[in-house]
């Protein structure tokens, strides 16, 4: 085999190896599953509030699932929507519910439910958390 052909073959092999390593390190370790549960548009039309199940199955057996409340719209800073609240998934506890009232986003949780993260306000929108 000519030296030039060997160099070309070796290059393809290296590229293939780099792609395989990239897939191994990126895809399986930080894979996010999203299931949208509820959406409510704000009365002024600027924002859409979303409740979504987000499953961070980061690596092999590690599971971390939350109900995330996010604000989506042209001014959002996070590609998934600006994060308002994370509530850990604990079956049979229900997911948060959302409403718009008086310019505020009202997020309702079950009476014993606790959030693990809350930002208030988010993107200039005040948040009102209520326990049902």
């Amino acid at each position: 085999m000519k030296k030039r052909n060997r160099v070309i073959l070796a290059s393809f092999a290296l590229i293939g190896l780099a792609i395989a390593l990239g897939i191994y390190f990126v895809w399986p370790r930080n894979h996010l599953e999203i299931q949208v549960r509820e959406t409510k548009g704000s009365p002024d039309g600027r924002w859409i509030a979303v409740v979504q199940l987000e499953v961070y199955n980061s690596a092999w057996v590690v599971n971390d699932a939350v109900y995330a409340v996010r604000l989506k719209g042209p001014a959002q800073k996070d590609s998934k929507g600006d994060l308002v609240m994370n509530v850990p998934v604990n079956y049979p506890d229900p997911e948060p519910s959302i409403e718009w009232s008086g310019g505020k986003l009202v997020v309702a949780l079950a009476d014993h439910e606790k959030y693990q993260y809350l930002a208030n306000p988010v993107s200039g929108v005040p948040i009102d958390v209520q326990q049902k």
Partner: protein
């Protein structure tokens, strides 16, 4: 059976955890008789995302009812296989090294790449087998 947060940890209908425990015992016996084999690695892979024993995704889609029991099953497998608590949590911790989690997720103070909930659920599974509460 209760999960880390005190809520019920359910097992999907039609799935028998004895399958996993008997396989774990088989892996243990094989290693005792033949030395190190790959059967443990193959069975550990079945507990991974989308594997045959990934209780959260047996239907092909993530089901939040089974999030705790999926990790409890890992603890059960480890106990039946004879893997120590430290070893199974180190395995989980090492593969989780580059992981990202939801904002605010409480992390374990020893196995710092694991959410505390995962560690507690692994412990619950190990205790259930080691205490003899589950016969297989």
């Amino acid at each position: 059976m209760q999960g880390a947060n005190g809520n019920p940890a359910l097992i999907p209908a039609g799935f028998d955890i004895k399958w996993v425990l008997q396989a774990a015992e088989g892996d243990k016996n094989q290693e005792t008789n033949l030395g190190r084999t790959v059967s443990t690695d193959i069975d550990l892979a079945k507990l991974g995302r989308g594997g045959a024993w990934d209780l959260q995704r047996l239907s092909g889609k993530f089901d939040p009812r089974f999030i705790d029991s999926a990790t409890i099953l890992i603890g059960m497998y480890a106990a039946a296989r004879g893997i120590s608590r430290n070893d199974i949590l180190n395995i989980e911790n090492n593969v989780a090294r580059t992981s990202k989690y939801a904002k605010g997720t409480p992390m374990d103070s020893t196995y710092t790449h694991l959410p505390a909930r995962n560690v507690t659920n692994t412990d619950i599974g190990m205790r259930l087998v080691q205490s003899g509460a589950i016969v297989y």
